[in-house]
Subunit: 303 residues, 2 copies
């Protein structure tokens, strides 16, 4: 099934204990699209500036990623710079320059209007909603990410967008902030009333928890000997998750569980190198191999 | 198989958002023994004061718990008082009175000298070692818990005791402190060199991770709508874990994985009521039912 993502395509400057890069491809939509493209074709809606040269466009080449919805505007691309502490448990944002992203108004090319799976990455909820209004038919699967900034500044717009969302994918603190409820099971009950019937809580190094109105599913983070760069782990998780789901076209319990695993697989690979490097070069057999490792990591028999 | 635990039997005063108790049975050995006794007979080595009346002794009655190693000394029992914050993510120790525990010298009754499984709860490492020196034969399974206090104050004694330990059961921060290594996989390699070939990292609300020199196994915490009192969750986990293992008498991979699950089952029940109340009244069918819930919470099929 056709999977559309709307979000940021950006340049990142990153500093981790393992090194430093001054300018690398970043942005939620980049990580998402590269991760999801291992499972299904992806359509990207985003905006970049004049500085987004062919060199960066080439990173998406050779993968089933449609960039016809990638608008090019006069000015500079979104730029983010951050530094991680020694054990990478915390990060400090050094610079955020919205640049052309400040005036972003997502416009879907005609080819995209039949998209049946949509992921609304973390942007202004009213822009997320505008994407849903453009598609021709009600999509089968709508996933949404957001953050504290929008929960605080645009609560009404976010509530409106959530009404049309199937799967809300946020972290534990955002879940608590959105619902005003500390306990995650009770928080999920409030989320269900807002629209989404599936809540995926991303917990970073502690894995992810899916709360569906019919079942619970927990997946750990993959224990790694070396984390190079945590940037984009959550967006790669979302890409693996939505990419797998869109490839099946169904929200069955089995598929939702597997989506959690494939999301975790992509998230775990993303952090093994700087930026998008690892998930761009990933082979299908590596994805399958790590998925089996997840099975081994979590399997037990009661008898 | 016979399972011996050495540790504290104490009185706790607890304050959580759900209420307050002034004096309830506490101590690592109490939680451990009550939890483990659902799987196997348990022998307790600990010390209490004159204030440990029949009313408290009765809590262990009707369960396969041997209290002949529970020494009664002149004075008061170990007393601990703590208060949890609103969401129970943090606790403040208000009072710690060692009382008779300050002069505790564990002495095993003759009946206990053939114990084949031993759990050394969190006490002075030299006392832990003295227990191992008393048993007649090398035990099949030795589990050990410790804390920052002993890692800092008695590193030599702890290292000596670890040489005779099969399973080290501590939390993530203690793992990092003991090994000087932030990454848990690399930390485990250092633990293996100290003696234990199995490291169980307790992560509270994030579950537990077993790092064995041949495999990894992760189990989530059980999502609960209501946590009444987190006190004793780790000791109940240890009791369920060691109790199950001792009942099988083997450290096979299957058994170790199941032990993680039964530990988590007991830990999750422990927090549903104040103190030891819930794990004392637990039925075997409730244990089996929650173990199946853990299976459901973590199971997926790749095809």
């Amino acid at each position: 099934m056709s999977l559309l993502v709307v979000g940021s395509v950006a340049f990142d400057a990153l500093e981790t204990p393992h090194g430093k890069v001054d300018r690398t491809l970043g942005g939620a939509a980049s990580y998402f699209a590269l991760a999801a493209s291992h499972f299904t074709p992806v359509r990207v809606v985003a905006v970049v500036g004049d500085d987004f040269t062919d060199e960066y466009r080439a990173i998406f080449k050779g993968r089933p990623i449609d960039l016809s919805g990638l608008e090019r505007a006069a000015g500079k691309s979104f730029f983010w710079s951050g530094r991680y502490n020694a054990n990478m448990s915390e990060r400090t944002t050094l610079v955020t320059e919205l640049n052309v992203f400040a005036n972003f108004k997502p416009i879907l090319p005609p080819d995209y209007l039949n998209s049946s799976s949509i992921f609304l990455a973390n942007i202004d909820p009213s822009l997320q909603l505008s994407v849903l209004k453009q598609v021709r038919r009600k999509p089968k699967i709508v996933g949404l990410d957001t953050m504290n900034y929008w929960i605080e500044r645009a609560p009404k717009e976010l509530r409106e967008t959530l009404k049309h969302t199937d799967i809300l994918m946020i972290n534990d603190e955002e879940t608590r902030q959105l619902t005003g409820e500390h306990n995650l099971l009770r928080a999920a009950q409030r989320v269900f009333k807002m629209g989404p019937k599936t809540l995926v809580i991303k917990k970073g190094e502690h894995g992810a928890l899916m709360i569906h109105d019919k079942f619970l599913f927990s997946v750990p983070a993959f224990p790694l000997e070396e984390v190079f760069d945590p940037t984009g782990a959550g967006d790669s998780f979302a890409g693996g998750f939505m990419g797998y789901l869109a490839s099946t076209g169904s929200l069955s319990e089995h598929n939702l569980r597997r989506a959690m695993v494939y999301g975790s697989v992509l998230g775990s690979y993303a952090v093994e190198r700087f930026g998008v490097e690892r998930i761009t070069k990933l082979k299908r057999k590596e994805i399958n191999s790590r998925a089996r490792h997840f099975l081994n990591l979590t399997s037990f028999k009661l008898q």
